[in-house]
Amino acid sequence: MKKKKTHRKPFVLVLREIMEPYEGGPESSKLSLVVDLFVLVCILASCALIPLEHVYPHHEELFWKMELIFTSIFIVEYLCRWYAAQSRLRYPFTFYAVIDLVAILPTILMLSNELLMLRMIRGIRLLRLLRLLRLLRLLKFLRYGFLIYHGVVQFRIWFSAANYQYRLKELGRLFVWVGVAWIIGSNLLYVTESALVDKGPFQEYWKSYWHILIVLISGIEDKEPLSLLGRIEVTVMLIAGICIVGMLTGEIVAILVKKAQRVGKVAIMPPEGKLERHFVILGQNAHLDAVIKEIHAATHGKNYILLVSPEAEDVMVTDKKVYQRVFALSGDPVRVEVLDQAQLTKAVRVVVLASEDESAKTPAHMVDDRTLMETIAVVCGHRIPMVVELRDPDSFGDVRALQDCGIEFILSKRYGEILISQAARNPGVTEIYDRLMTFSDDTNEFYTIGVPPELVGQHYRSAQLYFLEMDDEDITLVGVDRSPPERPHTEFLVNPDVEQCQVSEEELVLSETDRLIVLAFERPSLIEVNQEDLWSGKILQRS
């Protein structure tokens, strides 16, 4: 049996991967995340030096040494990026490279001999200016903008979910009341006892805090006051303490009961939770679990998924890891207030599943009527990429207007039937389709990328050879997409052939506006991802 060789990436590719902002995809290295965090800390720390130099001028030498260390780090970072760049000739003129250079230039200028002379003559003002210019390295954050934004969004959603699940708001309010009662009680007892009696346990200011705390939390009268007024005050505190402990116990029990009731079920969407860049699935049927798993596999669980249907809260978790970022929102997806709660304006994709009532055996066309109503409800207020599942082939003819809006319709049974007939004619093809349609780290998917500059003006066949001979990335070219940007994959040629496609050889010459349809294990890094597309969610951050 042949021994499987291990795939070893060239150093330059590994370095490029490390220097790129971490994306969490299958090929993203954890080292990339470490480098990102290290650079971010260095940027913050080096910028913090500037005000510190003003506040502690006597430590100027230490700060200067630290500044030199940070600058050295940034120089190494700059050189690594240059070395790993796809085009070393063009790299210094790219936007981020200019920022990187600006980040190190002020310190280098301060170091130069010529400026040292200037410094002696009239350099104080210039030196100050250069120091301030070091603040420009804050611009380096721009490179990590998406990473930081994504992190903030994820944290905010996680916090709102924890807040809802553990009733943090209620608990917080309770602790505020305990704190207020504690401070007031301690001060009151101290003042009362100090004024009315000569000696007692509440005459020391900080000790009275301790005594009152015990009264409030445990309900035990630790040290009794000597004055009548003091005893009345402690009695009030004791009653308040019993109430507070009761409320605290109640809150904890409520949390535990709520948790026990939802064991094995999808987490409920927090009413005040602010979702962003999430997937919305309207309706539910037997496909729901598989669709969630596929989306999770495709996005590596980066995006939250929100299920909206009348029975969403009863959906069971089949895989804890997959369902970690799935929320349920109970409600009729046709209702505007429910759709508002689903925060569709912030969603990246919407899936409408044919809501089938299995027990009622609803006819296919009636299922589709409901599905289409849900689709229309979404389309009315939002323009989000949508995929809609239909059951009845006859419904397909009626949705032309919606298709023109960019909505995709999938007739659930149709493709299965076609595949059955294909399998009868071409044995083995089901496995091929299975691999092409499944999201995993070891399978290929179709990607559409821009034409690399070196292929503009080249024939399609030259592009095929280019990808065949390219060893840096594993890409197979399968076609050309010439669709308008707003309607991708509507006008394309797979395996373009002069005779079969009735095109001339000239028409197979690639232009800048063309897009290439390729098979790849992950999004090819050959063409840089358009940041605007990434931020808008048009391209999902997969890998």
Partner: protein, 293 residues
């Protein structure tokens, strides 16, 4: 008008076991204008009343080819019955499609598996394609001789997810799935013997240089167990493989990686197969092997 009974001698045809709403589209695809090697189709029906009550399941009659090459065989015993299968000339069939019996509802997978086993007993060389209702049963079918299992719902689930992540990609899948003039299909073809020992990269290079009307997207590495004594079930099974033995393992390598084995530079053997996108079934030799002067 009734459909014809199958003739006694049929060869290289497709047998469909059980009637359901899928029949219409499947026959439509098999007899599509774009298909060059249209097979005869025999539908094995157990419940004739069900078939007659649902004319919308019947293939389209306006397709003249279907009119002459689609046959309905009514047998009470059901498709798992040996006699029914013999009447459908299963021994000379190219492929058998086992559809889920709609009368069995969600529990049809058990019956379909029994039919598959009966088919394999009659003709181990027939390519069996089974429609699965519940994908959880897929694992159980690994122990049987069913060649391909299609869970209709699964395809939809995957396409929904694919379209969700990459809007429009459904159209690419559709273009290679559907049989329409001018569209591609995925084919799996044997490597021409003359190319044994050539690397995958070289094979693809030759196709590109020859302006071939197809594109390779990968290959399948087949491993074989040693040949068994003749007359055994195992040997019958591998008869199509010209005495090489039993196909024990298949490694699907799509978009082969560079620097890996199996990968782009892997030398293909004569038992390996190529995966290609093409408008129709083509003769690879014509494009890949230079003509002798």
């Amino acid at each position: 008008m009734e459909w014809k009974d199958p003739p006694a001698e049929l060869e290289n045809h497709v047998v469909i076991c059980n009637c359901s709403e899928q029949v219409r589209r499947i026959v439509g695809e098999l007899h599509a204008a774009a298909v060059l090697d249209k097979p005869d189709v025999v539908l094995l029906v157990q419940d004739v009343a069900l078939w007659r009550q649902n004319p919308e399941w019947h293939p389209q009659r306006h397709n003249g080819y279907t009119q002459d090459h689609f046959f309905v065989l009514v047998r009470e015993g059901g498709p798992a019955n040996q006699e029914s299968l013999l009447a459908a000339s299963i021994r000379t069939a190219r492929a058998a499609i086992i559809l889920a019996d709609p009368r069995q509802g969600d529990l049809a997978d058990a019956r379909s598996t029994l039919v598959a086993m009966a088919l394999e007993q009659q003709n181990p060389d027939v390519h069996t394609v089974m429609e699965l209702i519940s994908s959880v049963n897929r694992e159980h079918l690994r122990a049987t001789e069913v060649n391909e299992v299609v869970c209709v719902g699964e395809i939809a689930e995957r396409l929904i997810a694919q379209s969700c992540i990459t809007p429009g990609v459904k159209n690419i899948f559709e273009s290679v799935l559907v049989n329409r003039p001018g569209t591609n299909n995925i084919y799996i073809m044997k490597l021409p013997k003359a190319l044994a020992g050539t690397s995958y990269r070289e094979v693809v290079r030759r196709a590109i240089m020859a302006k071939a009307p197809f594109q390779f997207i990968g290959f399948i590495q087949n491993s074989f167990l040693p040949p068994q004594p003749t007359g055994t079930k195992a040997m019958t099974r591998c008869s199509a493989d010209a005495g090489l033995g039993i196909k024990s393992h298949q490694d699907f390598v799509l978009n082969p990686r560079s620097g890996e084995n199996p990968g782009r530079d892997t030398e293909l053997t004569e038992v390996d197969q190529l995966v290609l996108i093409a408008y129709e079934r083509v003769k690879l030799d014509q494009y890949l092997i230079p003509a002798e002067p």
